[in-house]
Symmetry: D2
Subunit: 503 residues, 4 copies
């Protein structure tokens, strides 16, 4: 399968990546990844002719990895125009970014997709890249800006909506004294953009884009939570498809992806034996379930910390000890946060860790582990052992019998499976991204009329995604007889379960 040719060479300067000479290496990896992404390749075949995304202009904000490259090129092969940024400052694979930019062209004459992403962006650069994906130029009969957002974590959506709000309010709010660096960088970028637009005579552009948007499809729990809160507050002016809660996303990517990429990240970062060690997993949602399975599968003894009694009871019934975080930290060799919540590993917790303990996050944002708080402690120091691996020496908690303790922190508290390894493997992303593609088609085609608000994909599409991935795993499905389908009141072709079914 070859990548699709875009309609025209890229405008000079309409991209920013680390090094275009990496494109060939990236193309190699993309080609191997396509073999592992049967969902996306099946969709390319199915829709090769009908081009359901013709006319769509998609602003994408999602880890710029090899797998995402296959997603991007699936979107363009279905007719879409695409601009892309990463949703994490460390997660870009530079060779993938280069290959997508080069496309059918050459490093000298790139003819692919405008990508703005590289590994190791600063916070300022991060928001600048995010700004760029909205810069689809106006053309004959086509207004400027995207018609769709494909989001991961909600940053692109937030940037658009806050931009529109600032246009309404006549300016960006001032920074508070305690505002974190992330927020300051975000606001600074917004101020710059509004100034630029004003200078260019395009005042109101954020609001115009929000008004013309067909919708957003969102990848993660964290982003979906933001969307639900926007919708409840009446602040979501377009439809959003919650891709995260497709079964073939939340129960596959979140769980089986982490099962694969968590130990991968730990191993590449530290080479430390997992077997026989004590791992504390904070959170027993889908991500936490995958994390415990991975660690237990390597022979670690896993302790689970939870706030939700149902998830806690599941952990116990699955054979894990459920304790509070505070109880567990003194004996943990590994601490993995998986919650999507804030400061679930506190400064106090960190000070109780044993020397050599390894700390990492596979939840969403980098504030699951309170490194910001830790950095403020007097006497703290951190050295980089190798990229994305820091040894912090910190004052130990009283009663530990230690003056200081020294711990290894992975990816500065950001997603370690992306920062220390290469993220989820292609096969898992194929399921998630097949949902994304179908969500974009749903929003663009207009066949179903989605109101402003948050929607899930119809179950039958969820089942379709699963169905596309079974043959590659050698699985053969049995079929309902007509008698059996009637007996349980479903169609022979599905959907097979009631909406509330939990899998």
């Amino acid at each position: 399968m070859t990548h699709p040719a875009p309609p025209a060479p890229l405008a000079p300067g309409d991209f920013r990546v680390a090094d275009l000479s990496l494109a060939e290496a990236g193309r190699h990896q993309i080609r191997l990844a396509e073999r592992e992404m049967p969902g996306l390749t099946a969709l390319r075949e199915e829709y090769a002719e009908s081009q359901p995304l013709a006319g769509a202009r998609i602003a994408g904000s999602l880890h710029m990895t090899v797998q995402t490259a296959v997603l991007i090129e699936t979107l363009t092969s279905l007719g879409a125009q695409v601009r892309w940024a990463s949703c994490n400052i460390f997660s870009t694979q530079d060779e993938a970014a280069a290959a997508v930019v080069v496309g059918a062209g050459t490093p000298e004459a790139p003819a692919g997709v405008p990508v703005y992403a590289w590994k190791g962006e600063s916070l300022e650069e991060y928001w600048w890249c995010t700004d760029r994906i909205f810069r689809f130029p106006a053309a004959e009969g086509v207004p400027a800006g995207p018609t769709l957002i494909l989001d991961d974590g909600g940053d692109a959506t937030m940037y658009l909506l806050e931009g529109a709000a600032a246009e309404d309010a006549g300016g960006v709010p001032a920074d508070g004294e305690d505002d974190p660096a992330e927020v300051r960088a975000f606001r600074a970028q917004l101020r710059t953009a509004l100034a630029e637009l004003e200078a260019a005579g395009e005042t109101g552009r954020f609001s115009r884009i929000a008004a013309q948007l067909e919708g957003v499809s969102e990848e993660t729990t964290t982003g979906v939570n933001r969307l639900y809160r926007l919708a409840e507050a009446g602040n979501l002016p377009f439809p959003a498809v919650n891709v995260n809660d497709s079964v073939t996303k939340s129960k596959f990517d979140n769980r089986y992806g982490i099962r694969h990429s968590l130990p991968d990240g730990l191993n590449r970062a530290t080479d430390v034996l997992i077997g026989g060690k004590v791992a504390l997993v904070i959170g027993y949602g889908d991500v936490g379930k995958g994390a415990t399975e991975a660690m237990a599968g390597q022979g670690a003894r896993v302790l689970v910390s939870e706030v939700d009694p149902i998830c806690a009871l599941q952990a116990v019934m699955d054979g894990y000890q459920v304790v509070t975080t505070a109880e567990a930290v003194p004996e943990a060799d590994f601490v993995i946060t998986t919650t999507g919540n804030t400061r679930v590993l506190t400064v106090e917790d960190l000070q109780h860790l044993k020397p050599g303990a390894i700390v990492g996050n596979v939840g969403h944002f980098d504030d699951e582990i309170d490194l910001a708080g830790l950095a403020k402690l007097p006497g703290v120091s951190a050295v980089e052992i190798k990229p994305q691996v820091h040894e912090w020496t910190i004052p130990a908690a009283e009663g530990t019998g230690r003056e200081t303790t020294s711990i290894l922190v992975l990816s500065e508290g950001r997603l370690l499976n992306l920062g220390n390894a290469t993220g989820h493997p292609s096969f898992v992303m194929s399921a998630s991204f097949a949902n994304q593609v179908m969500a974009q088609i749903e929003l663009h085609s207009g066949e179903t009329q989605y109101e402003a608000g948050v929607h899930r994909l119809p179950k039958v599409l969820d089942e379709k995604v699963a169905r596309l991935h079974l043959p590659a795993l050698g699985a053969r499905l049995s079929e309902l007889t007509k008698e059996q389908a009637e007996y349980i009141g479903v169609d022979v072709a599905g959907p097979y379960k009631p909406e509330h079914y939990r899998y």
Copy 2:
């Protein structure tokens, strides 16, 4: 904790069980079971004073086991009057039934609850027992019949609604030529009951009960499916609470209960090694997931057969081979059906089995395995090896190289975990039954107004059930800080997840 004293001695003859002299042995077991049912004992304490079921008259149809005895006595300790039948002809534990009948009385002067159940009922006896649970006598200011149904599989609800329908239609439909024995026995009982009521001048009693009913709470997937179809067809005149789909039921009882009781039933029935053998599990829903985990946990190699692509993909990702039933039967040492559907193991499948293959069902009804069809094959014979274990000798399928094959069938195709062992362990049933008790309270208290139709319990009650069971397992919950609760937009006390969350 002692069982509650009922208001008065039982009317002579107002029960039918195997042998009241078993009551002491039953009481022993009930006492031990109470230690394993922290959910029910906690509810007894919480509601000892407020008596939220005072005035409720509950008709119960659910396996009459030791655990159900603890449920029944929890209901009466909260103020309810109760009448009980089993929902399966083989599942009654006679000593439990005896103990519930005797209650605080003696075998000579029983003072407990009217129970109609014994192990090994005929189909005719089964429906007669079901009829009895509706026979609450009228009293001063209290009309005859129950105000609530507590159902498992929907038989009690069906009996009431078909009775009412027959009253409307002026009679019970005639039997068709191919109608199974179950249906004929059901109709025969209805005809008898209608005749009795007419003779007693109580014509229209079924309809009157349906009209006065506060609702039904239903235990199983099968029963819930029936209710949804009734509701869709406009034939459900009262509210129903779907207890099955409480997370603490469907993902605990269905899964962890089967994980325990499936190998228990196989072992007691056959004493055959599970390790190293090939087990075919048909269906990978919650019950199927528990079944595969149990068999794999004993070292069997598990093959899974599925029709739903999402469940099939889960099975593959969990490491199991997914094949069609027809492909798998020739190499299977064990075949376990878990679907709740009909004839998922056909006569043809059975004829392909190896000599010595063991066949059993933990789904719902006894037609998952087409034993009725098998019995009609020429040359088939079956001998009882021991109670609930039959060796069938049947003509082998062509191409197997065998003239005949001989297979072991457990519990005549009914629930083998109940027929060959003692069903789910108390702890698991404590979660399910705590949901049942709270459902009955919800329906009776009137605090929430439930419309006719099918409802699930509020998530916060689901979480409460989980919370009640954690201390007994030594689990300690972490707590959200106020900051964290706000961050994810929930209350510190829960519920913690959106409605669509799948656990």
Copy 3:
């Protein structure tokens, strides 16, 4: 396959079992068990003609179960004469014993093998039964007594050697004040036997049997340890084959047998949920490894207690927490002893248990749990909940915050998998017993000359046992090429590994 016809009807009274009318039920189970014992049925076929045990007179002391029945009838079908007792007072399955006695005859005219065994023997009866297996009558050219012992735990061997020692010493040692009841009963029986022999003019019979014995084959770790100590002390006057340490015994029966029969025994005894509970397994040898796997496979959290650092390190690397027994008992829901050592669960430990804790032994003797010590504590009481299940109420240890605690003790501290269930499944015993049969052939045939002392079977026979069991499990072996065999310096037909290889 039919059972073999013995040469003549049994002499009247030359057996003692519970009830011969159980023979038909027993024969049914034996027939089903033969399907699960491919090792033994293959040996019957292989040796049908050559009758390698012709002339052998075997005194057997091993749990008189259905599987042992298949062993006994394999021995007789190879030409041996056999007399049998159980090696445990609770482990006899009465229907199996009856079927073996009846053999090809009828309950009225039994024509099988003289068996002395029933479920629930007293200690006195136990040793009387053991005495009987040595009572092969003298015949034309054949002296009285056996030529071989087939032993489990070493009781038969000990009885013979102590008998011979008493003959030498002129009497049985007197009982000491603290001697346990077992020892007293043993000596009492020896005294009776010596008196009987003297009365019958057969003084010196024990010594004569010891002198004529071709050898003993021993089943268990415990019995083997006894043999090694006898040999070291110069007190083993005949060869002994250590069957226990064949790989296909110690790593199959001990491990996979317990994996199956431990949860089976727990379930039949108590019906208590294993999942989510805390299980303390004392000992991480082969039995302990099987026990932990079984409990973990049901979702329990397993704690391991060990004295051997290598086994302890294995447990840790397998993901289990290794703690001292004293640390673990307060939080254990189940305590399982697997050591073959004495008082590994002390009175003090028992007093720290939670109410409802379940205690059982799958090691060897009943003194792993110090119930004898416990019974001497003031204020202790025990009630039988059901056969082989006792609820002990005992004073709780200080600091537990409890006055008393109440625990469930299974099979009075004897092997719970035999006392509360039916022991190891047939398939596992087929491997162990195929080793036994080949050991008896080795000792009887004289092809290899075994010195007095303890020997293991040649590795090639061990591999043969494995090979006999693979087809029934659908396993297909690859074969070494000649080039490969030479490369690693073995024969294409095996043995494949050096003697010290550990599997």
Copy 4:
């Protein structure tokens, strides 16, 4: 813990590594590794004063990794002089080699140990490096050459013995027509060395070293097999300690090391999802057991191929399907060889693989997979995807319906866990290497007199190694009472098991 200072700066040119400027990075990693190697650090402390290796001159041939650096510096801290080469052309970690060379010195003035190793040696360079480790210079009262060999795979020992044989025979055998490149390179180096020695007037040096050698300690199954064959043929003139068969080596390094490093190598090489895929593991010895556990722990379905019926039966009982290699290859996504045998994956097998199948070896030599044979097939091509990952395009076998297939081959068939990742983690190597250190002490101290031939370490040292590693994993050992030790006939301090015990 700082590394030990050697007595003097390294002679200029007396080492060859990739780049001394990597030393600082290597020292960082060595420091972190020391935290994970409690066995070696404990031995450093125990023997700091007594210096039991004073006077020993050790020629080491073992993968030159970070962990080996800790081993080397443990040996020198106990008084030894050491020279080192890697035993594999791809396994050197260049920064570790640099740090060991630099030692307490600087890159400009290295003062460590003479190391000859770099990642990516040619065959010629490999044997040149091996030659160098024997070049201890003569000194006052000290003859030239080593007194001990520390070997992995037996190459150093073979080089010495073949050198001595060539000295005896007056020359190196001529190359045969079909001799593989490895053999030719080996002989070429020998010829060069003999010529050099002759030129330097040191004829007979190989024989003199062999005569003065105190012994060799060997790390692997493969090397041990070679030693046993040498000893049987009377060609082993000095004692050899079989470190591989210490329990704390063969059942830890082989099993738990591979469990960790196999998926690590696969992930770093390919980023392909393991879960849900089919993995064929060839061989179910200790390495195979670890490999299956790793793959199953990630949710793969594992097929096992075996020639040994006992290991095959273990695989079945552990729940894996046992099939022939030929049957399994068409459906395998991963094929992992673990046997230590030759051509266990044939050209024919490789041609049956699916496109995208991933093939790798964790056995010993690179001929487990017949890549040499494959390379000779007409029409074969191979491209390097990234270092140590090659995509081979080969003619597909008839009947597959494919013209060609394309497979990924890792590390050119050499140990993928070393070639594609960093080998076993430090903790596991700590156990193996603690055995090595104790073996060297045993051979050097002369306390026990070891004859020429192959020996295993006493069990009590094996138990000591385990004991040294338990505290770091939080494990607490129970202790035998005196009564218990007597009961089972052992010393309270161990050893606890008979020699034949298998763990």
